[in-house]
């Protein structure tokens, strides 16, 4: 049996205080995340065990807040996820590399020369200001991406910024930010991109991709591409809405809602729909995988989903505590759709009221005006035709 192997991984696990039992449990959860049956657990365990030498990886930071790095680097208590991610030989990462300056850049350069590495890209691609919104080592961010992307075996775009520009591309988007995939498509670079949105990215998803792409070989076989939706997101992570799997869904169906924060309804854990929860339109498996080592996640901890896993999520989600987004009306500014509808309806009601006054004044309310003898058009024609 594969999981009977006692390789380097178990020493690593033991050194970090992770039992073999924990490890197998974790492999089981990865299997579930990837939509695989329990029978894949030994295979995953073996893959992790034997996968000590893997493709090198480079982590580039684009225009963003580095929150995704923070999310991935949550290493206060080493766990299996950390170890799996350790298997990814990240040879360059601006925020966490030990090396600095020329040395670090040289390490990245060395990776770029050998095709087949994994490129992890965090942050938006800022196209504005001729690319000068971001400069690394004397080059623009765009030049760096152009240089790194073509030789990569695959690009993992982590976080919403890397997917479509994220919050950086929210109106008015002065940096003309976009995502890695749309940017590369515009450049004709065809390296496959796996998109992992949300703000920040959930480390569990990167673990799933590492296992799927690197260890189970779904990149070589091309199987990973079949698992992506039209936006390059793995369907097994982004295939169902938060609403579908929400622990508060029962309260939604019953009609028990939090009307405002600080109320008894909130204390009772009622549904956050009325305070703007975007769960019904947000496709992520947050309720299942959860965050911070499966401790909790936004809705479970009492905050409405702000839809950070959606495309263009800031513009379509803000104001986050409202059911509707704002409409940017020219000359008026951001306006709620209901206000626009109310004003139009009010004007229409006023118009009908005034018209009714006119109808009354002109005596038409009792049966309408007397009928015309002949259509005006026909009368004109007759006059032209000499009374025919």
């Amino acid at each position: 049996m594969a999981h009977e192997d006692h390789g380097a991984i178990y020493d690593l696990l033991a050194a970090r205080g992770v039992s073999r039992r924990d490890f197998l449990k974790y492999c089981g959860s990865i299997a579930a995340l990837l939509g695989l049956s329990e029978s894949f657990v030994p295979q995953i365990a073996a893959a992790v065990n034997h996968g000590a030498k893997l493709k090198p990886a480079v982590w580039l930071n684009g225009g963003a807040c580095t929150g995704c790095t923070e999310s991935i680097a949550q290493v206060d208590t080493p766990d299996v996820a950390t170890i799996v991610l350790d298997l990814l030989s990240i040879d360059f990462m601006e925020t966490l590399s030990m090396a600095m300056g020329e040395d670090a850049l040289a390490a990245a350069e060395a990776v770029f020369e050998e095709p087949g590495y994994i490129l992890i890209y965090e942050g938006s691609v800022m196209q504005g200001f001729d690319g000068n919104a971001l400069r690394i080592g004397g080059k623009t961010g765009l030049e760096e991406l152009d240089h790194a992307a073509p030789n990569a075996a695959a690009i993992v775009a982590v976080g919403s910024c890397a997917v479509d520009g994220g919050f950086v591309m929210a109106n008015p988007n002065p940096a003309d930010a976009t995502g890695v995939k749309p940017y590369l498509e515009g450049k004709g670079i065809t390296t496959p991109v796996v998109n992992l949105p949300t703000c920040p990215v959930n480390p569990e998803w990167l673990v799933a991709i590492v296992v799927d792409v690197l260890l189970l070989g779904s990149l070589e076989s091309g199987a990973i591409l079949d698992k992506l939706d039209d936006w390059g997101r793995p369907k097994y992570i982004f295939g169902q809405t938060i609403h579908d799997n929400c622990p508060r869904r029962g309260h939604f169906e019953n009609g028990n809602f939090v009307n405002e924060f600080g109320t008894e309804e909130e204390a009772l854990g009622y549904c956050l729909y009325k305070v703007g929860c975007k769960g019904p339109q947000t496709y992520t498996n947050c309720p299942i995988v959860r965050w911070n080592r499966r401790t909790s996640w936004c809705v479970e901890s009492g905050a409405p989903c702000i839809g950070c896993g959606s495309l263009d999520w800031v513009d379509v989600g803000a104001p986050f505590l409202n059911r509707h987004r704002d409409l940017p009306l020219p000359g008026v500014g951001n306006t709620q759709p209901g206000v626009v509808a109310g004003v139009v309806a009010g004007v229409a009601a006023l118009g009908l009221g005034l018209h009714a006054v006119g109808m009354k004044a002109s005596g038409r309310m009792d049966g309408g005006a007397p009928y015309e003898e002949m259509k005006a058009h026909d009368r004109k024609r007759m006059q032209k035709g000499g009374g025919k």
């Binding site: 009609g255 309806a345 229409a348 009908l352 006119g358 309408g368 005006a369 009928y371 005006a376």
Partner: protein, 225 residues
């Protein structure tokens, strides 16, 4: 003064029924839709969604029945007559309405004193009624596009991508309902402002005597009250 006679031939019983079904469905859909958008009282979400998902099929089936019936049922093509023709003639261009768009606009804007000659449905009226068909279908499309069992189907997902996501689709769906509300307000106003005979006929199937017209729209008798 000059109200046309309203005979049952203008609205055969089947159309009295489809009109009732439309009204009930639209009220139920608008109410439950508003509730689903923003639940303004507690403990009703399950019922509201059930209402919405039931009546959306009722109104679609009703629309289908109404359109099919137009080809098989005979109805009057003008007011003040017992003569009938296939109902679809009411929905195609009619001789009585030709060249009358301007006259109707002027009449409504008080720029014309006498009542324009017209078919059962005047120019603007007919356009407004016909527009409710694509509007209903648009409401159905945008509704299915934000309804979990259907929203991932390629036919709806493609539209959702095109409008920029489900939030935008929801707002379009919301505004279509407002268009229906405005339509209904104007429809009810114009139908009844010169007398409630149209309502008595379409709701209670009760006739009312009035002016009678020949095929050229000429008054040939009767009294307008």
């Amino acid at each position: 003064m000059s109200h046309p006679a309203h005979y049952r031939e203008a609205h055969p019983l089947i159309f009295v029924c489809t009109h009732w079904i439309n009204l009930i469905s639209m009220v139920a859909l608008a109410f439950s839709g508003f509730y689903i958008h923003y639940p303004f009282f507690a403990n009703f979400m399950g019922v509201a969604r059930g209402m919405h998902f039931f009546f959306m099929y009722v109104i679609l089936i009703n629309l289908f029945v109404r359109i099919v019936a137009a080809f098989f049922v005979k109805s009057a093509t003008r007011l003040g007559t017992h003569e009938v023709e296939t109902d679809i003639k009411n929905w195609l261009p009619q001789k009585l309405n030709r060249h009358q768009l301007g006259a109707w606009l002027k009449y409504y804007l008080f720029l014309k004193k006498d009542h324009p000659i017209g078919a059962k449905y005047g120019v603007l009226q007919k356009i407004a009624y016909i527009v409710t068909i694509p509007l209903t279908l648009a409401a159905a499309y945008t509704g299915f596009a934000i309804y979990a069992p259907f929203m991932d189907a390629a036919f709806f997902a493609a539209g959702t991508d095109w409008v920029g996501g489900q939030m935008n689709m929801r707002i379009i769906h919301y505004y279509i309902m407002w268009v229906f509300i405005l339509f209904t307000a104007i429809h009810a106003y114009l139908a009844n402002v010169e007398g409630v005979a149209p309502s008595r006929l379409i709701f209670a199937w009760k006739e009312e005597e009035g002016l009678r017209f020949d095929a050229d729209g000429k008054v040939i008798g009767g009294s307008g009250h």
